[in-house]
Symmetry: C2
Subunit: 296 residues, 2 copies
DNA sequence: ATGATCATTAGACTGACAGTATAATACGAA
DNA sequence: TTCGTATTATACTGTCAGTCTAATGATCAT
């Protein structure tokens, strides 16, 4: 993306954090970021679209950091989940995301409305998927309920916690408290078998989430998590595979120039092993070659 | 209140329900309710103040209906609580309250902001107090947490439930589901003794809730509930008192012309009985005489 | 270097809106 | 009738998002 446009996004975000969305006029943005009105409306079709750009920018950054917390970790370890949600809460707070969100929640612009709804749904979906990894496939029918309630519990706890403790210390405490509660709810629902929301609704709510807009990162992460679930960390043979998978993930996400031959070498043993579902391994190697094709 | 002003409130509320707050211009309101601009700004100092008036109107109506559900009922019966919250959800939905709420949640008007925050806090407070009645004094330290989380769970469940079931059937199901969850949370917290919010915070959050703005109704209800808690429904002698108390409540709230001598007669046995805390009975009889003094 | 193309600029302009101001009129109580 | 108050119609101000235009600057292939 145009770096000038980036600059406008950053500057206007600063203003929005400081005075809020409605209270910041286009003119303020023009003055503060040193561009003219014409340029602004060349970059963005409206003030609302600028806001969407800010959300997008932040969200993709958050997603990346959130996924990095999983590298080299056990996806079923609930402590990783706690860290991930702490991160999200921290980023939210730092960028006044919730405030900005609320401020335009019901706006007259249907595009913005749609965007925000989608964003919320994606949080639910992500939480649900993580819950499946954490609590196991067999609890699936209740985990969408749990995801939805967890988010409700957490948001509400946050809202009232900050009334007493203005500084953003304590995020960690609130997240941990909320996670503990939801752990018991999962147990309880598995016994009482009481379901409010059917997980298949997710596909209805997010019709295109399978196809178009998945990032490379997201897909890599999904495959890696799936491969990891078949690994048992108590078997010494399997640890070798775990390291290989972690290496591939690291190399692709963090190396400025990932080395194709190293990745080839790392992939080969996975392909040969009977431990994994060949389809999954196939997806991974396809993803890797797609990565290098795009680069050129 | 001026009936003409009432009329404007009703009419503009209709418009807000139909098109939303922001999307309704003052001119729309003037045309639709058939008044002039001058009159409008004679009644309300701003569009925001009109909105506050609408909220107030609705809230006091809701409060009344909600309290009526308690008449003749056991305050510790959780089914009554379920009905009360169903009522609130129903009124919310019918009047698009949540939508209107969200639309102006973060507005630039500090007065409106303050008002909305207070309204939310009052819901939490009311829920907390009801939980104390339902789950018992000994669980008090955890019941503010439970109230906060209950509201979070309920709101979130609602939000996603309506995505699948557009008609407002099903409110009942969602409320019951959410109440069931919070019942288990109460149990669990009583064991784990994990507290996030101290109930004493409520006084800090709502500094004036003890004094000025309590309605006659609210206070009557509080005293009646407290008196009822000392009654055991299994003792036949006590049932007589229960009937007396219910009669007093009914007479004051629903009779167009409550009869002082009947109330006197009903109060006397309560005063004479040693069953009740004399202070509470005293408050009740004071409240009754205050009621008749105001009437004249 | 030349000229074509595209990004950028300043600023005038429109239209919508909240809220103010005012002069004229209706109406009710003394 | 008269005085005061509520109401009306309407013009006005100021703010803001978004459009339009004519001029200026930058880039780049030939």
């Amino acid at each position: 993306m145009n770096s000038r446009k980036q600059h406008v996004i950053r500057k206007s975000h600063e203003l929005f954090i400081e005075r809020g969305f409605q209270a910041t006029s286009i003119q303020d943005i023009l003055d503060y970021s040193g561009i003219s009105k014409g340029t602004f409306y060349n970059y963005f079709t409206s003030k609302n679209e600028l806001l969407i750009s800010i959300f997008r920018e932040l969200h993709s950054k958050m997603e990346q950091e959130r996924n990095e917390l999983l590298i080299g970790q056990d996806p079923s370890d609930i402590n990783v989940f706690v860290q991930q949600f702490e991160l999200q809460m921290y980023i939210n707070k730092k960028n006044r995301l919730t405030t900005l969100f609320e401020e335009v929640l019901i706006s007259n612009d249907p595009e913005l409305k749609q965007f925000l709804k989608r964003a919320q749904l994606k949080v639910v979906e992500w939480t649900y998927k993580r819950f499946v990894e954490i609590f196991g496939e067999e609890k699936k029918p209740y985990l969408l309920d749990c995801a939805i309630m967890f988010i409700g519990i957490l948001q509400q706890n946050m809202k009232f916690y900050v009334l007493d403790h203005d500084r953003h210390t304590g995020i960690s405490r609130v997240v941990q408290y909320s996670v503990k509660r939801v752990e018991r709810i999962v147990e309880e629902l598995a016994l009482s078998k009481d379901q409010l929301h059917d997980p298949s609704s997710l596909d209805k709510w997010l019709p295109d989430h399978l196809t178009a807009d998945r990032t490379f990162q997201e897909e890599l992460n999904e495959i890696v998590n799936e491969l990891k679930t078949t690994i048992r960390s108590d078997k010494p043979d399997d640890r070798k595979y775990l390291e290989l998978i972690n290496f591939i993930q690291e190399e692709l996400l963090h190396e400025t120039n990932p080395r194709p031959f190293l990745l080839e070498n790392a992939l080969q043993p996975l392909i040969n092993s009977e431990l994994f579902n060949p389809k999954e391994v196939g997806r991974l190697s396809k993803l890797v070659s797609r990565f290098f094709k795009k680069k050129t």
